[in-house]
Homo-oligomer: 398 residues x 2
Amino acid sequence: MTASLLIRNVRPNAGPALDILIENGRISRMAKDIAAPAGVAVEDGRGEIAIPGLVEAHAHLDKSLWGLPWYVNEVGPKLLDKIDNERMNKRRLDLDPARQSARQTVQSSMMGSTHTRSHVDVDTDHGLWGVEGIMKTRDEYADIMDIELVAFPQSGLLRRPGTLELMHEAMKAGCEIVGGLDPCAIDRDPKGHLDAVFGLCQTYGRPLDIHLHEPGEMGLFSLDLIIERTRALGMKGKVTVSHAFCLGTAPELVEPVIPQLAALDIAIMTTAPARNTAPAVKKLLDAGIRVCSGSDGIRDTWGPYGNADMVERAMFIGLRNNFRRDDEVELGLHVCTTGGAQVMEIADYGLAEGKSADLVIMPGQSLTDIVVTRSPKRRVIKRGKIVARDGVSVRTAP
Amino acid sequence: MTASLLIRNVRPNAGPALDILIENGRISRMAKDIAAPAGVAVEDGRGEIAIPGLVEAHAHLDKSLWGLPWYVNEVGPKLLDKIDNERMNKRRLDLDPARQSARQTVQSSMMGSTHTRSHVDVDTDHGLWGVEGIMKTRDEYADIMDIELVAFPQSGLLRRPGTLELMHEAMKAGCEIVGGLDPCAIDRDPKGHLDAVFGLCQTYGRPLDIHLHEPGEMGLFSLDLIIERTRALGMKGKVTVSHAFCLGTAPELVEPVIPQLAALDIAIMTTAPARNTAPAVKKLLDAGIRVCSGSDGIRDTWGPYGNADMVERAMFIGLRNNFRRDDEVELGLHVCTTGGAQVMEIADYGLAEGKSADLVIMPGQSLTDIVVTRSPKRRVIKRGKIVARDGVSVRTAP
């Protein structure tokens, strides 16, 4: 599913206005006044800004309540309250992963994302229901989104016997990434948990993307164990730590860790949460660490927030990190575009000749303006095809 | 400027659907199937939710760059960098307070605010330029917004001689509230600063709304001096502390302060900043303390963020305070509506018979849905007149 298109008068990354010629789904030329080849549709860029497709590098496509009747959240305060509440109510709430992931994918595409890394619950109550559901969406909506799957033991790996076996099944079924979760706080066996998930990585030759919500010294201990295994197993560049709230604790504890992450090319995913300690994005980027972001769960049993808008997420990164200068605010947009592509190892990503024609055209005076204004007037292009325009997708959600 | 209107089929605060009859700018009846009086226009509420008008309880109407050419922010990291950068560039950037406050007022009304408390810079470089400008807007846009003015010594009160005299002029010119700013950190003379601003309150019989950005123990020291003066001068219920970042520090330091704030009915304004320690909203409300919120500066020389949307602000309050349950998320909306009205002492506020007909009608399944969805499809009613519909105001910004 590829297409050809000539976009006239558009400003790549807020630079000078150019034309972009897309042929067979790839950017073939970026120059002034390109002659339209015969039969190629022309889109007026209206002098708006083009950015590469947004990268949703941390979603949970299987668990959004999007489009279902309003869910009144009365969940308890602990992490396990939310985990158990969700697992126990999935069937009752009719949280069909195929339908819900399709809905979120259409919403996400409409907001400008062209690539998604989704964690997907693997547990003994639901088996591979989630994996199969998102895989169906991945196939059926391949024209608007590239989706990568992380097999995610949301309810714990060791504390619920049978889960590890299901993780093997999920990897065999085609999940690209091994997931993990709070080795101390949830499984209460950091060595056991990490040996198991790194073992899965070794068995299937796949990268790791592990959730680490653990705060302070506990989180830094788990992170140290992750670093140790990454080094010992030669997994440099193949590990992402998601959330990593512990990297927002006391600088004297965090600073010695940063060079180790950089040396092993361990990537960090942050949603830039307002309510938590969080990694300092600029410090990580300055150290050469790959940083990506994501919406995390949107409108699910964990909480009601979220709209899958990675431009809004860039704003959250700015607000959380006190980015005020234009050159700082742009870092948030970098994290939500190129940063995500670096983490997902998308080879043909970017606004350059030869790259896949995945881009978003938005009105704005500058990249910072895009982030703070978050205009809904977006044109989203996936492999050269216009897949969304002003909040209307070419695909209908189920 | 008052009006009559019958709104059919609307759900006050997400309750059962009713009709709302507005006569001469006031809500005269709320009931099912009200017969339309002769000559009264009828508005179809479409079963949407009505909330009382949003209250923008902390704006800086004089300093937004809204509608001006893009300002590339390259300001330094310190608070004084931002203060000096702004003061020194106001004229060069053509930051005319009358025009800019009008622009922000139209934007704010469009998003659903019906009342604004605005701080306004008073300094020796610009005198009462800001006060006069916002007063012009207050008069000319009285049909869409009630505006209250806080005389605000943004550049310091004592460190720049002549400012105190200008503060007297501002109060005589008609500012309703005395402002102040970081008695330790900016003026470096907490006793002098606080004696001066409380003195202004005494002289003019006016309340105080003081900016307090000072962190940790320094902020708590300043707060203690504020509490002491509030008590000594009999100003119970007449003091607001804006930002109060210090109330987000160690619980063992903050907890003894809460009952003192409650006893003296000192109100707290928080923008729920993601980047800072911040007051815990639920703890304050549980203690019976009035809490309001505001957009603070929007798109100004301090930073590019903001759109004057107090529904979005309610979401920020939820995100910052980790509100996930519906009953928690609704607290954010309370702060941005009734909480603000309590702080601004708006006597005839609320969705009830006899109150001023200031309300917003928005689509949504629940109050929490309103906050997280932040629909732009809003109908804003000020004193019974529909002043904005779907993002279009009845007034044109200059």
